[in-house]
Each structure stands twice: as C-alpha cells, then as structure tokens.
Symmetry: C2
C-alpha cells in the first residue's frame, strides 16, 4: 500500500539524518504540523499497544487476526486505529488472501526518537537559572 | 509547581533507565495509557512549537511573555497549551512577579526518545518476510 504517508515525517528532513530536532531550535510551522500528526497517532493507548505488538513481533509482521483478540474492541475499530497508524507513516500493510499483514516502518520511529534526543546527550535545558529572571 | 505529573511517564520505569521500549515487547495497558497521555500532548503543532521554543532557549527557561508573540493566538489559549504540556510532565514553570517562566523537563523527552529507540540501533522489524505469511 501507499508509502506517501511517510512524507508526513520525511519531507523536511534529510533521509537518515537525525534531525533538526525538537529540542535544539524552534520548530517551523510546517515541520510542527508534520510532526504533530505522527505524535497524535501515538496519543492513544490502543494505537500504542497495536504499534508495540507489531514492532516487537519476531517475524517482522503481524496478521490482523493476531491483533484483534488482544483487545475488547470490534474488528472495524481495530482497523480504524491501524489505518491512523498507517496514515502517520508508522506502519505499512499488505493484504494476502483473507488477512491483512502489518509491519513497522522503523524509519519513522527512528526520526521521532531523533527529534526527541538531546544533542550530545547533555542537557539543553535544566533547572531554571534563578538569577536570570528578567 | 507540582511535579506529580512526571509520574505519568516515570511510574513504571526505572529512573534513568532507558526503557521497556515501545518496540521491544507488547506494551501493557497501564503503560500504554501513561505514554499515550504524553504523546497526545505532543500531538498538536502549537504545543510542539511551544515545547521547542522552551527547550531550545539558551538560558534554559522562557518567560511566557516571550512565547505569546510568536503565535496568532490569545494569551489564554497559549496558557492552555502550556498547561497541557505541564500536565504531561514535559515542562514545568514558576511564577515570578507578573510573569510565568517555563523550562523543559528533559527526563520526559529522554524517556520518550528511549521508548522509540530500537535496541542496539538495529531493526526490530523491517520489510515483511514474504515467506512467512501463514
């Protein structure tokens, strides 16, 4: 299925580069819009659990038939959550016969980890400088 | 102001440890609820821009009076977004005289980066194993 959703995160970042981060400079409006879509997709516990089930599967992909029984939710509801994860570029899928199979797109989670990582692993901001309140 | 919001992310993770990640094992319901709250707070472009303005400020903190002019939004709207970031444990603040000053809580962004980071920096899931569709 379509990979165009990846553009949500990838458009304004060099491929593989780890990133004009969230913590190093003020985000532009366009980049903020793009990133917010992906974070919003993660802002739901069912979607987080689905993503973690897909990402941690040893074989690299999961049949939707193995996801649904873990939730007390209808198949259409699960499918809707999976669609939102897919539109955010976090997963992709393929239908084979009766079932749809899902897998992680690790480049998207890598980019999110990158924008949330402090440069050099040191603090960019810590406790307030109490003498600096002007 | 209160630091209890940090419990949103920190409760079920060892302090400083980098994390029973999202990508390594299926998330439990409770951990998914906790993480989803923080990702939801990041799922808005205004809040992402506010967070990046706060996080990237050299002095480590920002007066709300320096944040508001960057947006075509009312002061109460900006304050509401800042409150949501604070409730998610992403920032904290202190009132001094007329103004409120905000700073990043980097332990929260560190934890999010941790749960989104693949173990060992290698793929936990990649392209689907096409022979594995059973």
């Amino acid at each position: 299925m379509s990979k165009q959703e990846l553009a949500v995160v990838g458009r304004s970042e060099a491929a593989g580069a780890c990133c004009p981060g969230l913590l190093t400079a003020p985000l532009g409006e366009e980049q903020a819009e793009e990133l917010a879509k992906v974070f919003k997709a993660l802002g739901d516990p069912v979607r987080l659990r689905l993503l973690s089930m897909i990402a941690s599967r040893a074989g690299g992909e999961v049949c939707v038939c193995d996801l649904t029984p873990a939730f007390d939710l209808s198949q259409p509801t699960i499918s809707h959550h999976l669609k939102l994860l897919r539109q955010a570029g976090l997963i992709d899928c393929e239908r084979r016969g009766t079932w749809v199979y899902y897998w992680l797109l690790p480049e998207t989670t890598d980019r999110l980890a990158g924008v949330l990582t402090r440069p050099g692993g040191t603090a960019t901001a810590g406790s307030p400088a109490t003498g600096d309140a002007s």
